[in-house]
């Protein structure tokens, strides 16, 4: 009984109620219909839930379902081709199959690589390239392992595809440079988009347009005309299942192919320029003075841009990057060299313009110029010709390249006036060519020197301009340093009587879809205020150079009249010693320069030739110009060899 009392909380009424079946049934029904009520409430909650999902939040779930279902696959546009002015293809795109791996989707990369190697030939070079691409790639990228698979290889892999999740065969666009090393610096190359490119594209807002693109221009025209060549990305809306397999295509927005570029470069002339430089390192720039079109722009040695497209392998990269010949340096664009005597016609023109000299003014050249250097001593600037050139007027100062004439002129001219005059020819500033990365060179002036030697490492004595600086600069040495492009541009401006055109490499842009072509119109950047008489005097002197002066032998028997100027740029200061080429190590030898235009009466081509460590400009550089002129004006194409006799060559 105590036990029962303890559990009194349990229902006890039943003792009495059990006797009443009617009440029993009533109470049961009460619970039953209470249950029914609970059911209705629960179903009401469910109905509320359905209403929320299917009416209130419907749009959101609709979107999510669509996102599940539809994948947008970007389709990269086909990159425009690049051809020379006559339509010869220099860079083109084509489609081919690649075997690609997505490392993030592969559990055991090494095993997969081995197993693929059993199916399809994978060379050690492919592997090296793949690993290099892995290091540089964007996250979760699909990376090429083998490129340009043939049909049999594609079939063999397709059968075994199920064994390799994360490995796919894709049709990819490739870039090919059929002419190899020719014009490599002009064309530049494309390469796989790397992290830096992504950052840049993100900043410029172009990243979406590159969703379907793997490559981007890295240098040269490929870089400078990236926007033109690339085109606009297309999209393929694909319905996919839960495993990401495409079920069907919904809508397609075709990519807009990139535009084609027709260059101003004449492949034949370009080839000749490169051949003419031979084994030497150097640069050639040929410009049409009448419109600024660049006919040839050679930089030797070159490189094969095809090596870079799918990622260059380490051996080739090291070879190109560490070679003392600097094959990756675009010399005409970025190489700055003292112009030497090629600056003389411009200095002379400056003297005529300012009235410091007349063309006929002559003096007796002792073969040196003495500059008092304090405490009664003098510093002697030598002319190359011992004993001097005799009586020298302006014509002779150019045709025989008399240094003393210019020493004296420099000593009487303020450097800032010289700089002001020369800057009109774009010396010391960019010419505005349509290639990125143009160097400005150095056009010395007081302000320049002060700026150059600013900073705590230098003292005031370093920053001050000395008369000696002017004397060196007065023969194109000293601080003067210009690119071959600047010289060619300056000569073209001179040949065109002071009307300067912007140098450019693209002649025509051809719409990738419609084929409509748009001519790039020549752009006059400057009209120099030069007196015709002064111009005529300088031009006559330059004709004399080729007729009876320093380049006389090179232009012997030329059926056209040409004008030129030789130059030799010192690499190594001889400190007043006489320069004997055979006694100087080859890499310390002077650079040979030659600038020219032809025909003298109505110029159609202006060139600047630089041969690094070539010695005298007349012997090393002028034959290149002669070959180009012969080819361009006469259609004759043979490299002109310098006369082999060992007679003295002089500036």
């Amino acid at each position: 009984m105590r036990r029962r009392d303890f559990w009194r909380w349990l229902p006890r009424r039943h003792h009495y109620e059990i006797r009443d079946p009617a009440r029993e049934l009533f109470l049961f029904r009460q619970r039953l219909w209470l249950t029914g009520l609970a059911m209705l409430v629960v179903f009401g909650v469910l109905l509320g839930r359905f209403f929320y999902l299917q009416v209130i939040a419907h749009q959101q779930y609709q979107t999510q379902a669509e996102n599940n279902r539809i994948t947008v696959v970007p389709v990269g546009p086909s990159r425009g081709t690049i051809s020379d002015r006559n339509g010869k293809v220099l860079a083109q795109s084509f489609s081919a199959y690649t075997l690609e791996l997505t490392p993030s989707k592969i559990d055991d990369l090494e095993t997969t690589l081995t197993q693929i190697g059993e199916l399809i030939e994978i060379t050690p070079r492919d592997l090296r390239r793949f690993r290099r691409a892995m290091e540089e790639s964007r996250n979760f990228d699909s990376l090429p392992l083998r490129t340009k698979l043939n049909d049999e290889e594609v079939a063999r892999f397709a059968v075994n595809k199920y064994r390799f999740p994360g490995v796919d065969i894709r049709a990819r666009l490739y870039r090919q440079y059929p002419e190899g090393e020719i014009a490599s610096h002009v064309l530049g190359y494309i390469g796989r988009i790397n992290d830096r490119d992504v950052d840049r594209l993100t900043d410029s807002g172009d990243i979406l347009n590159y969703k379907g693109t793997d490559h981007i221009g890295k240098t040269g025209i490929e870089l400078s005309y990236e926007d033109t060549l690339h085109g606009v990305v297309g999209f393929d809306e694909v319905e996919v299942d839960a495993l990401g397999r495409a079920v069907r295509s919904l809508t397609k927005v075709a990519p807009i192919p990139g535009d084609h570029l027709q260059l101003t470069i004449d492949l034949r002339l370009q080839q000749l320029a490169e051949q003419s430089l031979g084994e030497a390192n150097g640069a050639v720039v040929a410009i049409d003075p009448n419109n600024g079109e660049i006919l040839a722009m050679a930089s030797m040695p070159g490189f094969d841009p095809n090596l870079f497209v799918e990622g260059i392998d380490i051996a080739n990269w090291d070879r190109l990057n560490t070679s003392p010949d600097k094959p990756l340096l675009n010399r005409p664009l970025r190489g700055a060299y003292p112009p030497g005597s090629t600056l003389k016609p411009f200095l002379a023109l400056g003297a005529l313009t300012s009235g410091k000299r007349t063309a006929d003014y002559a003096f007796n050249d002792p073969g040196y110029f003495e500059l008092p250097s304090g405490a009664g001593t003098t510093y002697r600037f030598r002319d190359d010709k011992p004993g001097g050139h005799g009586r020298v007027d302006m014509y002779k100062s150019i045709s025989e390249s008399c240094d003393t004439y210019y020493y004296v002129l420099a000593s009487e001219t303020d450097i800032d006036d010289t700089a002001r005059f020369l800057s009109q020819f774009d010396f010391g500033q960019i010419t505005g060519i349509d290639l990125e990365g143009e160097a400005t060179g150095v056009l010395p002036s007081r302000a320049w020197k002060r700026d150059r030697f600013s900073g705590p490492r230098y003292k005031e004595e370093h920053r001050r301009w000395y008369l000696g600086d002017s004397i060196s600069a007065g023969i194109g040495q000293g601080y003067n340093s210009f690119t071959p492009l600047q010289l060619a541009h300056a000569v073209a401006t001179l040949a065109n009587n002071g009307v300067a055109y912007r140098p450019h490499l693209v002649k025509r842009i051809i719409d990738g879809s419609t084929g409509q072509s748009k001519e790039i119109s020549p752009e006059i950047t400057r009209r120099l205020n030069l007196k015709p008489a002064n111009l005529a005097a300088i031009k006559k002197a330059m004709v004399d150079v080729n007729r009876e002066g320093t380049a006389m032998r090179i232009f012997k028997n030329a059926p056209y009249t040409s004008a030129g100027k030789t130059g030799t740029a010192q690499v190594f200061s001889l400190r007043g010693e006489r320069y004997v080429e055979s006694q100087i190590k080859s890499h310390l030898r002077d650079h040979a320069w030659y600038v020219a235009y032809a025909p003298a009466e109505k110029p159609v081509i202006a060139v600047a030739v630089l041969v690094e460590n070539g010695g005298f400009g007349a012997r090393a550089a002028a034959p290149v110009a002669r070959a180009l002129f012969d080819d361009y004006l006469l259609g004759k194409r043979e490299p002109v060899k310098p006369p082999s006799d060992d007679n003295e060559w002089e500036e």
């Binding site: 029962r4 559990w7 909380w9 349990l10 229902p11 039943h14 003792h15 059990i18 029993e24 109470l27 049961f28 029904r29 619970r31 039953l32 219909w33 249950t35 029914g36 059911m39 209705l40 629960v42 179903f43 909650v45 469910l46 109905l47 839930r49 359905f50 209403f51 999902l53 299917q54 009416v55 939040a57 419907h58 959101q60 779930y61 609709q62 999510q64 379902a65 669509e66 599940n68 279902r69 319905e239 996919v240 299942d241 839960a242 495993l243 079920v247």
Partner: protein
Amino acid sequence: MHLRDHLSAAWLRLTRHIDGPLMAIVLLLLAVGAVVLFSALAPDTDRFIQQIKSVGIALVVMWIVANIAPHRLAQIALPLYLLGVLMLIGVALFGVTVNGSQRWLALGGFRFQPSELLKLAVPLLLAWYFQKAEARITFSNFLVAMLLIAIPTWLIKRQPDLGTAMLVAASGFYVLYLARLSWKVIVVLTASAVPLVWLFAHDYQKQRVLSFLDPAADPLRSGYHTLQATIAIGSGGVTGKGWMNGTQTHLDFLPERHTDFIFAVYGEEFGLVGNIVLLALYTALLVRALMIASHASSLFDRLLAGTITLMIFTYAAVNMGMVSGILPVVGVPLPFVSYGGTALLSLFICIGILMSIQTHRKLVAT
């Protein structure tokens, strides 16, 4: 007698124990189920045909059960329960393990899940027990009933199959509830059940509950089912995407779409309108079942019919609640719609019992 009279006599004999309204509602539910299942199984028609066969067998079984008088069912309650518990012990000792759970008993090449049997055996036994006790819930009665529920529940829970264990326990407690267990005890039991279940739950079971609370936290793993199912239902909108047009369904985003998650297929393809139709059919079924329970002639009949009603309701509500993301994922099929022979069979046995209770009452009354 004319042939027509023979036929009509045969028809009468055949349908004597079939409850017309209940049969009509069940057939409508089956029709809806067939339509959805066809879409969920597409393009596999073999399994659809298999399910049609299962429905046929289940209907025959239902007819047989409907023809068995309820008091005969009371007689087999205890043996059935003992057999079920014995088989559960058998599962624990030599059961087949599938997906980490030991739930199946292999009997001569045929795999059988004894826990399914207990869903019916437990309410049957308790109804019989309280009938014997004349509905007196004394302390000893209560204790015995608790023990009878606890034994199979524990055995199923340790397979582990928490969902079925809870359903079996629930079926037992429904009987207790209908037998008018004191509200105070009900409150105490309910309050203690939640932490108890959590305490005994396996990690993966807890994970399911946690992922239910925030499905987006882990969208590709435990929350994936719920997320994709709610997307399917929500994207169906008011009128649905149309039969065979559900993208979530036909592009494989919905897992378990022909079994536990078939309601998502339905919601996606038939929308809110379809859902309301289904809820209405279930409501009609439950109302009819409640009426049968209400008018049942004996305490055993009443308790059994009421419990069966509550169980069918539980399956439907838990399944729809889980698929629409307001309940954690428990392996409960949607009655009359989900694919699967075993679940269908036990469901139709229940319907058969309801019909038996209803039709035998009439016979007694006349």
